[in-house]
Symmetry: C2
Subunit: 304 residues, 2 copies
């Protein structure tokens, strides 16, 4: 998959060709703050799907160095027991370039895994904020992982997470305060406006390190997948998914077009920044000038 | 600042006009996971700057609902004691649109506050990952906030944060394990490759809720600002800043051009997604078609 991640020429053609073979995998997003143990939850979920003979793809979106352009963690150590299993494909994503963002190629990798015949693709993201929104858009079912005792900020965060969570996992539930988190979530869920037939996100207690609650979590994921495929809903679900894909694909194409334009500038981004500074130009005017060139390039290459 | 955030026509002209008046504020990024108490740290820092009569701008990048398009938190409640102080300007950012991302307009707001004469602009971000990278690029000095007892994930995260942190605050340092976090960070900092004259990120213990360690943190911020302005370095610092600005401004302009194109489509993004689906088109081909149209629009309007 190296060529896709790197935006090599021909990648878009390959993705176009693959596209008709996508749409069969169940894409599960697992997201939550550092320290919530979501890697362990992913690990247990892989085990649970593998026990049924399902093929599992894992896309781990790692924090990466903005300066080296490389991933810090590489493939997750805790997932290594699955790494030698031929039914499990693990891919760590790194952030690259100045303009892309994490999600530019995550969706491409998910679609490749889908086309390869994975039954389930798990997308694990670190962090709260933009990442979570992207997961919600890429995944069919989003699990938000919380733990007891993370302070007041979590209260506020939870409100934002209500919008994207199809399921909550309160992990490390052997710690004090787990029931309080469950209750608070339930109150927030009960308070939010909803219509008949809306999905009611279940709140599942897990202690993934001990394997506890994973069966319940699996049950919740499966029920959500069934619900989403249900009559009357699948049309909207497919449209929403197509919307996310379109946005994400455009963002990636644009970022690559601009990056190519900057690379073609003598001295690259450094040369450009120096020239802008030396000319006493404001960056808005400079950005407009570069973009006009990038747009021409994009039009000629057809987005490739 | 509504027009800038919303990408209203004329905003780019206003930003061009403001630009020569920017570059005087010290832009401080404060970033860390939920539950680390970074809002409290920001609050204490505002107090510390205000005690010296400095004017302070605060840009709080809130997690926001991907569906409602609005901020969940609004201006931070804990910052309200400063909200009536005429020397403090607080602005919460919401994520909007399908293609932008958080940082598209954060930089614009920072530059407006700078041009308005703020001595310090504090940018607070929630989350680990892409957000952090953006902060590191926008801010002159980035403070990464950690707390004791957040589990193994934090170890991994720390490695990524080494690259972007100009200063570490180990907050809630009255809790068990604070010294261990400090030692671990120090070991990691000692191990990383560095050259003579490189900045050595200090590790400061804080208990912001009790106001402890804020003086030390302020000292670290001021020393970093002095270091960055030092002989031989300011040229590179200015070039780096110009690079971040250029990337961020281009991303924002393109996102807006594409969003305008999508809005002009009958039925907007829903209509587009439905048509793509009905036509059995793959989203890569559809994305190329939309982008070509958006590029034409961008060229005609000169990026506005």
């Amino acid at each position: 998959m190296r060529d896709i991640d790197d935006g090599m020429p021909g990648a878009v053609d390959a993705l176009k060709a693959l596209y008709p073979r996508t749409g069969r995998a169940h894409v599960v997003g697992v997201t939550g703050a550092p320290g919530t143990g979501k890697s362990t939850i992913c690990d247990r979920l892989i085990g649970s799907f593998r026990a049924e003979g399902k093929k599992v793809g894992v896309v781990a979106v790692d924090p990466s160095s903005p300066y080296s352009g490389g991933a810090i963690l590489g493939d997750r150590i805790r997932m290594q027991e699955h790494a030698t299993d031929p039914g499990v494909f693990i891919r760590s994503m790194a952030t690259r370039g100045h303009l892309g963002g994490l999600s530019a190629s995550t969706g491409d990798v998910v679609r490749v895994m889908d086309a390869m015949g994975m039954d389930v693709v798990i997308v694990e993201t670190v962090g709260v904020g933009q990442d979570e929104i992207e997961v919600a858009r890429t995944a069919h079912t989003t699990v938000v992982v919380l733990v007891p005792g993370m302070g007041d900020d979590v209260q506020a965060i939870k409100a934002g997470l209500l919008e994207i969570a199809d399921c909550f996992a309160v992990n490390k539930s052997d710690r004090d305060g787990a029931d309080k988190v469950v209750r608070e979530l339930q109150v927030m869920l009960d308070m939010r406006p909803r219509r008949e037939g809306d999905w009611e996100p279940p709140v599942v207690k897990t202690a993934a390190i001990h394997g506890e609650g994973i069966g319940d979590l699996r049950g919740a994921l499966d029920r959500h997948a069934e619900w989403a495929a249900g009559s009357g809903r699948s049309g909207q679900v497919l449209t929403d998914r197509r919307k996310s894909e379109l946005g994400e694909i455009m963002r990636g194409m644009i970022a690559k077009a601009v990056e190519r334009r900057i690379e073609a500038y003598p001295g690259g981004i450094d040369g450009l920044a120096n020239d802008v500074r030396a000319a006493g130009k404001d960056p808005y005017t400079a950005a407009e000038e570069i973009l006009k060139g990038a747009m021409d390039g994009l039009k000629e290459s057809g987005g490739r």
